[in-house]
């Protein structure tokens, strides 16, 4: 009983998030048309992609059954690290950039080793790492933010976040990086051997191991990937916002995980979808942007964010039910 294409589309787990996104756009746009203005769209997108990069990596990691709370502090730390090395004239920017990525990879590797070899739950490992990394950023800088003036005339800076205005919409290079990353991760998860191993590791690690899948290896790799992406995002963000503050990135971990989960990836692993994550990213970020735009009082901000998340999940759940009746 092969299913028709239409049926397959409807049955896709991404349907829920998609409907939510469209609904959201409609509502905000109707309240304040500015919401769809070129200017606003480009604004909304810029920061979106920076968190998005992390969310993509987190999707793979969560599909393999682990998650990483330390991304937020790696985000802040790496920017500080790179700029310190660069500003103090220790090395040219691109070297500093590579060194920073190297450090991030090491952090991820450490997370992975502790989780897989020591069998410590990833919650504790990455929570501990969060504190260590954040602390290091604070201690080394003594809390002073790094200035990032000299960035503009750097080819690397241009390559990472250079912007171009296309039909009135200001687009940053980072958009491009995000799209590429999204395509790549989607390909890996759905088309490759490794993708199959990732899902198996999350779905039933014993079974995977019994088949000779290097579960530990896969997870370590993904931890490294998520750290690296966090660092990459942190650097991009610091160049764009022209600020490298040891505190930046605080609390991003929860937001990123929320994006991934809203997208339909399961917290406990085994099932993951990049398309869903992309939708989840847009849903959450546009919501934040829209709320400011329609002028919700600052202190009520959280009420709306939270309320909408809950409402959306109920709706999402309703849609799911409609289409998988019985099961």
């Amino acid at each position: 009983m092969e299913r028709s294409l239409v049926e397959r589309l409807i049955a896709k787990p991404e349907l829920g998030p998609l409907v939510l996104l469209i609904l959201e756009l409609a509502v905000f746009a109707s309240i304040n048309p500015e919401f769809l203005s070129a200017l606003n769209i480009s604004n909304a997108l810029t920061f979106t992609v920076e968190l998005g990069l992390i969310a993509l990596a987190m999707t793979l990691l969560m599909t393999s059954g682990e998650f990483d709370l330390s991304v937020g502090s790696v985000f802040g730390f790496s920017a500080v690290l790179m700029w310190t090395m660069f500003n103090t004239g220790l090395m040219p920017m691109w070297v500093a950039f590579l060194v920073t990525l190297g450090v991030a990879l090491f952090i991820g590797w450490a997370n992975g080793m502790l989780v897989t070899r020591q069998g410590i739950p990833s919650f504790l490992v990455t929570l501990g790492m969060l504190l260590v990394v954040r602390g290091t950023a604070l201690y080394t800088t003594q809390g002073f933010p790094q200035n990032t003036w000299k960035a503009d005339d750097q080819w690397l800076a241009q390559l990472l976040v250079g912007d171009a205005t296309i039909l009135g919409v200001r687009l940053y290079m980072s958009m491009l990086w995000f799209v590429l990353a999204a395509l790549a991760t989607h390909y890996v998860l759905t088309q490759t051997k490794v993708g199959n191993w990732i899902q198996a590791s999350g779905g039933n690690s014993n079974a995977a191991r019994a088949r000779g899948v290097p579960v530990a290896g896969v997870k370590i790799l993904l931890f490294m990937f998520s750290s690296a992406m966090a660092a990459f995002a942190g650097i991009i963000s610091s160049i764009r916002t022209q600020a490298a503050n040891p505190n930046s990135g605080t609390g991003y971990e929860l937001e990123v995980i929320a994006m991934v989960v809203i997208g339909g990836t399961v917290l406990t692993g085994g099932r993951g979808t990049i398309i869903g994550t992309v939708l989840g990213i847009l849903i959450l970020r546009l919501m934040r942007n829209g709320i400011v735009l329609i002028g919700v009082p600052g202190l009520a901000y959280n009420i709306f964010i939270g309320g909408i998340i809950l409402g959306m999940m109920v709706l999402h759940n309703y849609i799911e039910r409609r289409h998988h009746a019985g099961t």
Partner: protein
């Protein structure tokens, strides 16, 4: 008042940092006085989301924007965009000379820090070789950094040493950590500079818990919260800095409105005063009057 225009009031503060509640109150008061709409938002020191809010505001084409500066240099581009869009934009609470704001309203944090150190020095509360403790809610946030820098200009020459510690924004945690630190270094600490309102406001509770008598260790710091004025009145805190939070917001918005009306403000307005027991009553009235 359908006639009212829309203004954006954007802050890097934490929504429940006591002092910010007074800044907010000032903004709301201005709104009701003038019949304009003021959209407010807090960003707890998160630069990207602060910028995002600014841009969202610019997109909404308001009559004016007033904003704090989360980090030196972090708003240069955004401010340019606002100017380009012909939207009046005023800086308040935390100055950023590098960005082309039309005007600044608020305290000069470096001089505030210098003021505290000077007070300690002038009143012979610290001498050569002493150690000063500087608790702060969010290490690395602009306000603490600039105040520390300011204080340094006085303390360094006297070769007084100091340490900044992380107290967090959580009342219970603040008390807990400060109590711990005090217990550990009670003998070493010759004076305390509270770099933020929450920490300064917690001095009484900490002293009580550790069993230190009011005045035993001299304290200076921020005085924009009810707690602190009480502490000044009861002798826990020797001198506290008032920065006219409501006034700051009110004037900043007024300047924005003025600029919107076509009168460009070409000047900064520096607010604030260091008060002691004798004058504390005034501020107590303002604050408890909510």
């Amino acid at each position: 008042q359908a006639a009212g225009k829309t203004y954006y009031w954007i802050s890097h503060g934490g929504p429940a940092d006591p002092v910010w509640t007074y800044f907010l109150a000032g903004a709301n008061l201005w709104a009701s006085d003038t019949g304009n709409t003021v959209n407010t938002s807090f960003h707890s020191g998160d630069v990207p989301s602060h910028q995002e809010a600014m841009r969202a505001a610019i997109a909404a084409k308001p009559a004016g924007i007033v904003s704090t500066s989360p980090d030196p240099g972090s708003l240069v581009k955004v401010v340019e965009e606002a100017r380009a869009a012909g939207i009046p934009i005023i800086n308040f609470n935390t100055p950023d000379p590098s960005a082309k704001f039309q005007a600044y309203v608020g305290a000069n944090l470096e001089s505030v820090g210098r003021g505290w150190a000077k007070f300690l020095a002038d009143n012979k509360l610290v001498k050569d070789g002493d150690f000063v403790w500087m608790p702060v809610e969010v290490p690395g946030a602009t306000y603490g950094v600039q105040e520390e820098a300011g204080a340094a200009t006085i303390l360094k020459p006297m070769n007084v040493t100091w340490e900044v510690t992380d107290a967090t924004l959580d009342q219970a945690e603040v008390i807990n950590r400060m109590a711990d630190y005090l217990t550990a270094n009670r003998t070493k600490i010759k004076a305390i500079i509270g770099l933020g309102d929450l920490v300064t406001g917690s001095i009484k509770r900490v002293f009580d818990q550790v069993g230190i008598k009011p005045g035993e260790i001299p304290v200076v710091g921020w005085g924009n919260s009810n707690d602190t004025t009480q502490e000044v009145l009861n002798g826990y805190v020797n001198a506290a800095q008032w920065q006219d939070p409501q006034a700051t917001s009110y004037i900043a918005l007024s300047l924005a409105a003025m600029a919107a009306g076509g009168i460009p403000p070409g000047f900064d307005i520096i607010t604030g005063a260091l008060y002691q027991k004798d004058t504390a009553a005034i501020y107590d009235k303002i604050l408890s009057g909510k």
